[in-house]
């Protein structure tokens, strides 16, 4: 029997769902192998039923979304966040935990009471439900998505890159932007999979795939300090995309600084 798949989006730019749609004619043979029961961005007549796999884009920013996420978790076998927002929180989580969310909120809303839905500071999916695998990216790479998709629909574990962008950049034999060109490049501490595309264009990595596991953040920040950035500016750069994961990561930096 064909596996039942749902593709959903919460708060974000829709870039991960769009990456899937962008696969054009390649999409059809992949989607022929399964039953896409829900993919609201691409089709009408969606069914909300028991699922084998749910791919979910975006972070959670309202009570309604939280409820819906839990509801999807309860009827899917496997749940896979796709994209940096779903995996880590994304840009809308860059100030997580600074205690000023309500200030920002009030600057936007004033003192008006909001009735439609209660909003809170953006959090990744794993803050509310168990997630089975993570496919990060801002946006995701269609190659990595369809490779994981193929494995998952055949009951295999997906293979995801667990090394930094730096490695991909070295494969391309680029001149190092961080050490040779003195540019603030986050390649060494950012999850790979993008193909080091910015670095190929002499643009330093901004960390949009979120932090890689066991990132050597202490040494990275030392190199940034040497380039003349203040600790505050460094933390600002490190926390741009990685949301909750980056928030955890920079804790060690803040601790060391206070020593």
């Amino acid at each position: 029997m064909k596996k039942k798949i749902g593709i959903y989006g919460f708060t974000g730019c829709a870039g991960d769902q769009l990456t899937i749609i962008h696969s054009e004619d390649k999409l059809i043979p992949f989607f022929d192998k399964v039953e896409i029961v829900s993919f609201r961005m691409a089709q009408s007549n969606n069914k909300e039923c028991e699922l084998d796999i749910a791919f979910i884009e975006g972070s959670i920013t309202t009570e309604e979304q939280k409820k819906r996420l839990i509801e999807i978790r309860n009827r899917t076998d496997i749940l896979v966040p796709i994209g940096t927002c779903a995996c880590f929180g994304g840009i809308q989580s860059m100030k997580l935990g600074d205690g000023k969310y309500m200030d920002r909120y009030r600057k936007v809303y004033g003192n008006n009471k909001i009735t439609i839905d209660k909003a809170f500071e953006s959090l990744p999916l794993n803050s509310f439900v168990k997630v089975d695998y993570c496919i990060p990216g801002c946006p995701i790479s269609s190659l990595q998505f369809f490779s994981a998709f193929t494995k998952l629909i055949n009951d295999f574990r997906p293979v995801l890159y667990e090394f930094p962008v730096c490695t991909e950049c070295k494969w391309h034999e680029n001149q190092c932007l961080l050490t040779e060109k003195n540019l603030p490049c986050l390649g060494p501490i950012t999850r790979a999979g993008c193909g080091a595309v910015c670095l190929d264009h002499s643009i330093p990595c901004v960390g949009c795939w979120g932090p890689v596991d066991e990132a050597n953040i202490a040494y990275e920040s030392k190199l940034f300090l040497k380039q003349g950035f203040s600790s505050q500016e460094i933390i600002k750069k490190f926390r741009m995309f990685g949301g909750k994961a980056s928030q955890e990561l920079v804790k060690s930096l803040i601790k060391n600084e206070n020593k």
């Binding site: 989006g9 919460f10 708060t11 974000g12 730019c13 829709a14 870039g15 991960d16 769009l18 990456t19 749609i21 962008h22 054009e24 004619d25 059809i28 989607f31 609201r40 961005m41 691409a42 089709q43 009408s44 007549n45 969606n46 975006g58 920013t61 309202t62 309604e64 979304q65 840009i91 809308q92 860059m94 100030k95 920002r104 909120y105 600057k107 936007v108 809303y109 004033g110 008006n112 009471k113 909001i114 009735t115 439609i116 839905d117 909003a119 953006s122 801002c138 946006p139 993008c194 595309v197 910015c198 190929d200 264009h201 002499s202 643009i203 901004v206 949009c208 600002k236 750069k237 741009m240």
Partner: protein
Amino acid sequence: MKKIEIDLISRVEGHGGILVKIDNNNVEDVKVNIYEGPRLIEQLLIGKDYSECLNIVPRICAICTLSHRYASIRAFEKILNISIKKKVSLMRYLMHMGEIIESNSLHVFVLALPDFFGYPSITGMLQDHKDIIMSGLKIKEFANLIMRKTSARMIHGENPIVGGFGKYPTNKELNEIKRKATELIPMAINALEFLSSVSVPTFCERKEFITFMCLNSGEEFGFVGDTVLVSQGEERDIEEYEKLTNERVVSHSYAKRCTYKNKTFTVGALARINLLGERLKGESYNYFKKMYNKRWKKNPLYNNHAQLLEILFALEKIPSVVDDIKRLKDPALEIPEMVSGEATGAVEAPRGTLYHYYNIENGLIKKADIITPTEQNLDEMERFLRITAENLLKKSKKEIEPELEMVVRAYDPCISCSAHLIKVVHETSS
């Protein structure tokens, strides 16, 4: 009382719904509800420098990613007093046309066309109209190639920066773009012929003319400018964007609304073709002359036709832009001094005029204001939904629903964009 509630509109980008209340054969209320979650992006920009801002703003929306980036770049270059080289402006023109073709073709072929033929999705339509859908996908794939070659990625490419580009495409890559554009022109013409053969429903047609707004692109048809044209011959500077849009808050939507002189207005491809259509050239001009009539000023469903005309215009324009790019040397990148100042940058995003305003102090953002096309179109969308509901009063709920969705889809709303920031005022009556 008949209540039509479409919870989540399918085949649009983002989360929105429609609510129509009909009582005693009267349309009591029409609302486009925007449920998209808030991100407070303008607040997150405070304290960032211009290059960090360029990393963030494209993420407002994946479909208009380059338009956000471009509008932001235009504002910063004004503040930093940078005059760009010819090659840079031509490269930006090419990249921008890539996004217009990509977004327009995604909308026309994948999301909207199935409506005209009553299919639930593109896959359903594929069986009966394979040629037209496949040519649409080819055009879209080509646009993705341009975006990749100019911006470094299909979505959220970081290559376009203040002052220029990180890297320029090679002549070989540029030649490929030129060759493909030329090859695709007959497909775009074919699609235009196909769409012209379908009769356009009248259920959402208004008696009086729509007020349109778009940037004045100069002598030629185009997608950037520093002044805004309004129907009936009015023209205003983009720095007056607040007066042009008059943002206000409504209780039922997570996105703000806009009016001009207390009237709703339309931005996007239909506005551009209505206001600048006479400036088209070549086949796109011939087809404009052949297809255009007064109904284009009254019926939003013609937005699909306008989007196809723009695709044809861009495909015809690209070869000469590529030739000019090839002739010019890659300019060196200027590193601007950190200054203070404020300015507005605007571009025509696929869905209409997009404004980015920044105030920076010693290189860091103090205030940011972004006004997106979908915000500007939301009031108009509601107005046309009301007309549709009034015209279809006698029909059953099941029959009206697809027509209502079709009107919203014609506007090609980009809900992520419109709800990048939300302001909601409590409805005291409830």
